[in-house]
Symmetry: C2
Subunit: 396 residues, 2 copies
């Protein structure tokens, strides 16, 4: 039996490279960028008018002139025009190129226009005011988005701006999620008294969807030859096998012995944690096997605490640790790391974690009332006090 920290270390050292693929930028939200995104020209690409109004020559204004005949209009999207006579002005629109021979934009709010003449109502202007200068934000060649960023709406805008209609992203792993347990029946079935419906595979599918990973699923009966035959094939076909169930001490918990018989390298079995102690982790040359215990909450928290960091590390994403402050005392006697369900709330910028008391690892419904797990360390002490802060793992 190893500690949560040791287990995490082993997992983070067993990452996998799924390769890189090119996809349309508009399909890339949530994916991991695998190239630096560079400015293809200056931003803004020209001296850009940033207020609707008139453009004049600064020196003429400084010399006291306040009434300017309007020569023409410079709309956004039109080639740059030139102010022919510096004692005149041009009307200019937000987003337009600043016309030649002008270097001040005065907004309409400060101007009265009558009979083709703009009279300026203010006595002070600054050179280059209301002009977003060429290259002020970024220079051509600047890196705008670093490799390994998780793409969000903010990055989508930048990708569009620089014309990256296709981008390189990390390929997604091929994953299959397999449940075991003869007590499990289909969601659409009417279970007999000793049966329950399958739920863990669907929970895992949803947790992986949060990472943009779509997965296949299977349910295998607790029959060793059948299990073994199926696993032989899955080991060849997938990058990751996620199991739920059949890793504990039961007569029909065949997975650990099947893995041994198939030559899967065991990296660990059992972690000093609750829930999810009998977690089994191993690998072949091309496949990682996460075999989670079958209790719903064990499967749930193990996926978050181990598969998520493994995936992020594999694709090169750094994840900030988040912590929260216990809102109530918690007593927990076993000498295990405790992943406790909590409801998160914010008070003056402090993140508070209120424990949600469930009925143990089988009580799936209690997850509905929580937002995250708080990770209370394995320690001699059994009292974790209100006001102390600990790492959390959100799932909403």
């Amino acid at each position: 039996m190893i500690s949560v920290e040791e287990a995490k270390n082993i997992i983070l050292n067993a990452t996998q490279n799924f390769g890189v693929e090119e996809i349309p930028f508009i399909k890339s939200v949530g994916r991991i960028l695998k190239e630096d995104i560079v400015a293809d020209r200056d931003f803004p690409p020209f001296n850009r008018v940033s207020m609707d109004g008139i453009a004049v020559d600064f020196n003429v204004f400084q010399n006291g002139q306040r009434a300017f005949k309007i020569e023409a209009i410079q709309p956004a999207g039109s080639p740059q025009i030139t102010l022919q006579n510096k004692e005149n002005c041009l009307e200019v629109m937000t987003g337009a190129v600043l016309p030649n021979n002008t270097n001040v934009v005065i907004r309409y709010e400060d101007v009265v226009i009558k009979n083709g003449v703009a009279s300026i109502q203010v006595n002070e202007v600054k050179e280059l005011q209301n002009i977003h200068q060429k290259g002020k934000d970024r220079k051509s060649g600047d890196v705008l988005i670093d490799k390994n960023k998780v793409i969000s709406a903010a990055e989508i805008g930048v990708l569009a701006t620089v014309g990256k209609s296709n981008i390189k992203v990390a390929k997604l792993p091929k994953v299959i999620i397999i449940s075991t347990g003869d007590e499990l029946v289909k969601v659409t079935a009417n279970p007999l008294p000793h049966q329950i419906r399958r739920s863990n595979v669907f929970t895992l599918v949803s947790l992986l969807e949060r990472l943009n990973i779509s997965s296949e699923t299977d349910h295998i009966t607790d029959d060793k030859p059948i299990l073994k035959q199926k696993i032989v094939n899955y080991l060849k076909q997938f990058d990751v096998l996620l199991f739920s169930g059949a890793v504990s001490k039961g007569k029909f918990d065949f997975l650990p012995e099947i893995f041994t018989e198939l030559g899967v390298e065991k990296l660990f079995h059992k972690v000093t944690q609750r829930p999810g102690k009998p977690f089994w982790f191993g690998q072949t040359e091309n496949c990682k096997i996460f075999a989670f215990p079958g209790n719903p909450n064990s499967t749930f928290v193990n996926c978050l605490a181990y598969f998520y960091p493994w995936y992020y590390q594999s694709v090169g994403v750094e994840v900030q640790e988040e912590t929260a402050i216990l809102k109530e005392d918690v007593t927990f006697k076993p000498n295990l790391t405790y992943f406790l369900q909590v409801q998160l709330s914010d008070k003056f910028g402090h993140l508070l974690a209120t424990p949600i008391q469930g009925n143990g690892s089988g009580d799936l419904a209690s997850l509905v009332n929580a937002d995250a797990f708080i990770q209370l360390p394995k320690t001699e002490k059994s009292l974790f006090k209100q006001g102390e802060n600990f790492p959390i793992i959100r799932y909403r």
Copy 2:
């Protein structure tokens, strides 16, 4: 010109009902539940063995017997069997029904099995130990998930467990996102010096995808008759029109006058905020119109600050306000509400907001380095001090 608070109030009072639809539960992550989900039977549905081991009769153990002949095995997924002779025991597996005539489970770790006899190695057991009692978590008829919940992986597990293969969720609004501005060219185009590529529509599409809303897009040239004709049709076809651009004072900012001509009710135009002051909001009987200013950051923050809360309110979701603590002093002189980009970090459960200084509302690339906007209130004072806390809007 109205305040951010007034604008928000008007928007939250102009919600829309998109109706309800039934979808497969497995497709429902991120959707809004529109029915209470009720336990179809007790959970657990039977006295459930929660450790692999042996099941015995408590009284026999209490009377001092420690060696029990194994009668049979009760696997998970098999109908309940009966211990024939109370001085014997049954092997039981996690997830199995507790056999008749037994009321204690002793885990394998505390038992030695030899020649079909299990010798118990501990001298103390508790009645019902390692048994997850029928109905302990939830009773048949209990509400497990309340209506109006945003569905996550946790809810998916519960839906599967109670056999809700199809569920009622809020319908999604039909949205079209329309950009204007003749300076804008396609992402795949090579812009001329006075042109830039379209980006706002893609940013908005991505921001709506975060809400699971898929949207259509269009780009309309700055030509009033064309704009008007298209808008007439869109007002009939969609629940929501989102515009980017053409709402300010420019000569080609036709939208406000077109809306008036088409009989769209204006609810407000202009909000005392930066960025995004010229935001226009209105409605027809069946359509809401959010017309955002065209600067990238204006569009971005307005969608988060107004469209998001409007959508959540429309579908009945309560959203907790989140706040963060300024990590540095911020000086902002204009008498406007300031949506400032910040990078979030966690320290001992405190959420810290570090301002990311961009170059104004056109500097889209600066959003890449931030995670959220902090909302600094419109006030006489211009200094917001390190350590003060204010509401934030996350976008990652």
